[in-house]
Symmetry: C2
Subunit: 207 residues, 2 copies
């Protein structure tokens, strides 16, 4: 079977460890590409254009919106953030699985346009563990932690829209699980139409 | 997450190697149980009641049909074959993944009753390879081989009703793939309702 790239959307509670998971997944296994977002916010020290983000001017970003050059976009704190279509599609065409870390609103927009996209939701083993991790970071104020826990309650409402959940208890196990789920997803009939049609045509000749 | 057993239906072309695959899967990995069918045909030498089949009298079998004691059944060559419901359900209750090798008509009946059942379809890498294997067995006449190839063409029409296809090219790879697909299937939101509800309740308390 010729393997086509899958667009993979990863969502999950803040504090569930999505970032670390994705970093490990792409480092340990071949065939993945990370989507690079476009943004109008200023680069921070050490950030490089085309690596952390594509840094655009507001006018450039709005031009991209007009041209349908973004799969999805949103505005936070007066800055645009979005997913450039050409970058994602060229990686998929290479046969790579493209990973997008995004929230549920973005995930929905992606599923509308790419029905074959794979939607994954990362969860902590429990709400208590989520709080424990947020506190353990030591970088968040009590107020921010409360806000994140409340947001998690809202995010939890959309879990059924995802195809798989992954529980991040042990990091190693979770990375392997993530990879296995994605590998399995390559084996749906919908993602192997060409292979199935070929074998059908061959079998028709046998009739 | 507490792991519940999944009812796994394995179909595929005759000659695709389903039997060998299933034998290897259940031998190499824990947590599986093979469904044992009931039949009214005579036991063959070496066959044991409750191992290869549950051997029943015609009246006993028809009584089971009446009592809704069979998940599905069919009649071939004047003999009944069917899947006893209690055997399957008690294995599932133990948390085991129960494997059922069955054709598409049976697979449909199972999906109607067990919407969480996982339907897998085993394929050869090509029609030419399928013919090659059937010929290679040396036990089938030319006529039987032609019949099986024709049947495969019919069976190929239903592939989209299955959730995953597995290509049996290399046996070892295929057994591992099968196991990974089943492992991944345990991670759908539908199969983890209790875990998701628990975390929601916990998070509600945070609001």
């Amino acid at each position: 079977m010729r393997r086509k790239g899958i667009l993979i959307v990863i969502s999950g509670f803040s504090g569930a460890g999505k970032g670390t998971l994705i970093k490990r997944l792409t480092a340990e296994y071949d065939g993945y590409a990370l989507s690079v977002s476009a943004t109008t916010r200023q680069p921070r020290p050490g950030e490089e254009d085309g690596r952390e983000y594509f840094f655009l001017q507001k006018e450039q970003f709005e031009q991209k919106i007009k041209e349908n050059g973004l799969i999805e976009y949103a505005c936070y704190c007066d800055n645009y953030y979005g997913t450039p279509r050409d970058y994602v599609e060229s990686r998929l065409a290479e046969g790579r699985d493209v990973i997008l870390e995004i929230e549920i609103q973005g995930a929905r927009k992606i599923k509308e346009q790419y029905s074959d996209a794979l939607l994954l939701f990362v969860m902590p083993p429990s709400a208590a563990e989520l709080r424990h991790r947020l506190v353990g970071r030591g970088t968040e104020s009590g107020e921010v932690i409360e806000k994140r826990m409340k947001r998690a309650a809202g995010e939890a409402e959309g879990i059924e829209e995802y195809e798989y959940i992954v529980v991040n208890d042990d990091l190693e196990t979770c990375v392997r699980q993530l990879h296995e789920i994605i590998t399995a997803a390559h084996n749906t009939p919908q993602r192997n139409r060409e292979f199935i049609e070929n074998i059908r045509t061959e079998l028709e000749g046998e009739k």
